[in-house]
C-alpha cells in the first residue's frame, strides 16, 4: 500500500484524483476532435466509423478553392466585429449604469440580464416572428412611426437579414458582457477613483485612465468568449435565415452544417470545422495573452 501522504508520493495522489476528469475530457472532447480531423482527410459523403478510407487532402483543396468558404470567413469576420464591438459598448454602458447607486437597481440588473436567461431558440423564434416581413411587429412599428415607407424584407434582403441576425445576437449576447464587466467594475478599489479625483481627473479622464485599464483583463476574457460564441452560434442564424439569402448570413458553423447535413459531404463539412477550430484557437490565444499582459 502506498502512503499518499508521504512527500514522495503526494503528487501521485493528485494525478489519481485528476484521472477520471482527464479520461472524460479525452472521451468527449479530444476523441471527437481527432475523429473530425480524420474525417476531414477522407473523401467521404456519409462518415462511417471503422471503415478504412485512404487519407487525402481533397477536402482542403476544395475548401481553399471554393467561394463559399471565403464568403463564410468574410461573413463570420463581419459578424464577430459587429456583434463583439456593439455588445461590448452596450455591455459596458449597462454595467456602468447598474453599478451606480439608485432606487430599483436590483430590478435594473435583472432586466439587463434577462435576454441572457431566455433559452436561445425560444428567443430567436420570438424575434423571427417580430422580424417577419409581412406581419412582424418591427415592420409595423417602423411603418407606423414613419421611419420607413415600405416594409423591410428581412428574409430576402441580404443587408437586412445580416443586420437582423447581428441584432438578435447582440440582444442575446450583451448581458453576459455586462455581467462580467459589472463584476470587474466592482473590483476596482474606490480609492483609485478618489486619488484620481484629488489629482484633478474629470469624469472622462477617470473613465479612460482608471476604469478602462482596470477592466482590460475582463474585457479580454469577455471578448474571447463573445468571439467564440459568434463563431460557433448556430441556433440564431439557423432559425432566422438558415444562412440565406444567397449566403449573406452563412457563417463557418452554418457552412459546416450545410456541407455535412444538407449536402451530406461530411468530409468537406469536417474540413470547415477543423479550420474553424484552428482559427478560434489562434484568436483566443492572441486575445487572452494580449489583454492579460496589459495589467498583470
Amino acid at each position: 500500500m502506498i502512503d499518499f501522504s508521504s512527500p514522495r508520493h503526494r503528487s501521485k495522489f493528485g494525478y489519481l484524483l485528476l484521472a477520471p476528469a482527464v479520461l472524460l475530457m479525452a472521451l468527449i472532447i479530444i476523441y471527437p476532435i481527432l475523429l473530425s480531423v480524420d474525417i476531414s482527410m477522407k473523401d467521404v459523403r456519409i462518415a462511417r466509423i471503422g471503415k478504412a478510407e485512404p487519407w487525402t487532402l481533397k477536402n482542403y483543396a476544395w475548401l481553399f478553392g471554393s467561394e463559399e468558404f471565403w464568403n463564410a470567413i468574410w461573413v463570420t469576420a463581419k459578424m464577430v466585429l459587429m456583434v463583439g464591438g456593439t455588445a461590448l459598448v452596450i455591455g459596458l454602458a449597462t454595467a456602468i449604469l447598474v453599478n451606480q447607486r439608485f432606487k430599483g437597481r436590483s430590478l435594473a440588473r435583472l432586466f439587463v440580464a434577462l435576454p441572457w436567461a431566455v433559452p436561445e431558440v425560444v428567443a430567436t423564434v420570438i424575434w423571427a416572428w417580430m422580424l417577419d416581413s409581412s406581419f412582424g411587429v418591427i415592420n409595423w412599428a417602423l411603418l407606423k412611426s414613419g421611419i420607413i415607407s415600405e416594409g423591410i424584407q428581412f428574409a430576402s434582403n441580404a443587408t437586412a437579414s445580416f443586420y437582423s441576425v447581428c441584432f438578435v445576437m447582440i440582444w442575446k449576447g450583451y448581458p453576459l458582457v455586462s455581467i462580467m464587466l459589472l463584476a470587474g467594475l466592482q473590483s476596482i478599489p474606490q480609492e483609485q477613483y478618489q486619488a484620481a479625483e484629488v489629482d484633478g481627473a474629470g469624469v472622462w479622464q477617470r473613465f479612460f485612465y482608471i476604469t478602462i485599464p482596470n477592466l482590460m483583463p475582463v474585457i479580454g476574457v469577455t471578448m474571447v468568449i463573445t468571439t467564440l460564441w459568434v463563431f460557433r452560434d448556430f441556433a440564431i442564424i439557423h432559425v432566422l435565415t438558415q444562412g440565406g439569402p444567397i449566403g449573406a448570413t452563412t457563417t463557418l458553423s452554418i457552412l459546416t452544417f450545410e456541407q455535412s447535413f444538407s449536402f451530406f459531404r461530411m468530409g468537406q463539412g469536417a474540413a470547415v470545422g477543423v479550420v474553424t477550430m484552428i482559427i478560434c484557437a489562434v484568436i483566443s490565444r492572441a486575445l487572452v495573452s494580449r489583454f492579460a499582459n496589459s495589467v498583470h
Partner: protein, 381 residues
Amino acid sequence: MATIEFNQIQKSYGGVQAIRDFNLTVDDGDFCVFVGPSGCGKSTALKMLAGLEPTSGGEIAIGGRDVTDLGPGKRDIAMVFQNYALYPHMSVRSNIGFGLKMHGLPKAEIDRKVAEVADILELSDYLDRKPRALSGGQRQRVALGRAIVREPSAFLMDEPLSNLDAKLRVQTRAEIVKLQKRLGVTTIYVTHDQVEALTMATKIVVMRKGVIQQIGSPETLFDTPANLFVAGFIGSPGMNFFRGPVEKEGDVAFTRFAGARIKLAVPAGQLPFDNAIFGIRPEHIRIGGEGAEIGLTLVESLGTEKILHFQTPEGQEFNDADTAADHDDERDASSMLARVIDDVRYADGQAIRVHLPEDKIHVFNPDTHTALRAASGQVNT
C-alpha cells in the same frame, strides 16, 4: 502653502451625526494630526476637507478661499491614502506624473518634475517599474511622490503608515516629518496611533465620537489634558486613574491613596465634591519614601527601564468607557503601572512604597470628566 479653516462643520448620515461643530484653524506650515479611536470621525473630517465627502453644514476654507462646494481637483490639495491607491497599470513615473498630466502640463516639464521628486524620495531606479514590483515602503514613497510633485497648498494623509511593518513605520515617520519641514507645506495627518501623533505633530486634534476633545501641541495634550478621555488616550503606557475622597482643610484639599494622605494642587474651593477621579502618569510615580504601601503583581524589565504593575487600592478602582483606551490595553482597570528607571531589582509580590507628587496629579470632575486645575493654570508644569 496655506492656512486651513473648518468653520462649524457638520456631517450626518441619515439621522446619525458623525461630526458635530467641528471648528479648527490650522496655520500655514503646520503639521496637524487628527487622532482618535476608530469611528471617531477623523477620516470623515479629512475626506470632507479633500472634497471626497460632502459636508452637511458649515464652511471649509483653504488659504482663505472657501472650497466647501469645490471638487477635489480644484482645491489644490494632494492626498496620500492608507492603501496608497496607486494606479496598478501605470509605471511609477506615470503614477507620480498623473496629477500634473491632468492639470495639462507639458510632457517635458512633467518629466523634469517627476525626476526631481524621484530623486528626493530615492525612487529614481524604479521609475519604469509597475507598483506591484515594489516593496511596501517603496509604494508608500511613490504615494508621497504623487502628492509632493504637484506642489499643492496642503497635504492630506489618511493613515499612510498603517500598512507598513513596525520598523519601517518608525523610519518613514521620521522621513515624512523631515520632508514636511523641508517643503513647509501645511499637512493634515490622520492616525489612530497616539505615538505617531505625539512624535509628528505640531498641533494635535483629539477626536471622539465626532466631537473635538482638545486641540493643542503634543506637550499641552500630554501635560494638561482637557478631560479624562484625552488623559487616557495620550501617552504610553496610558495614565493611571483611581477614585479618591476629597478632604478639605481650609483652602487646601487632600485625597487618600491606599491610606496615605496626598495634598492636591487644586484649591479646595474648586472641589465641591466628596470624591473625585484622579490620574497620574506611570512615569511620574516615585518609588520609596513616605508613600503608600503597595504590592507588586508583575515586573516587566526592559533593561534599565522597568514597568511595575500593582493593584489599584481596594475601593479606589475607576472603570469607565472614557478611559478604555483601545491603543495599549496592557492592563485591566484594577491595576496601575509605574515606570521607573533605576538600578533596583524588583520582584513579583514585593511590597514597596509609592509616592504620588502633588504637582503631577490630575484631578477630574467625577460627573463631567473634565480636568480641574489650579486657578493659575500652572498646575502641571
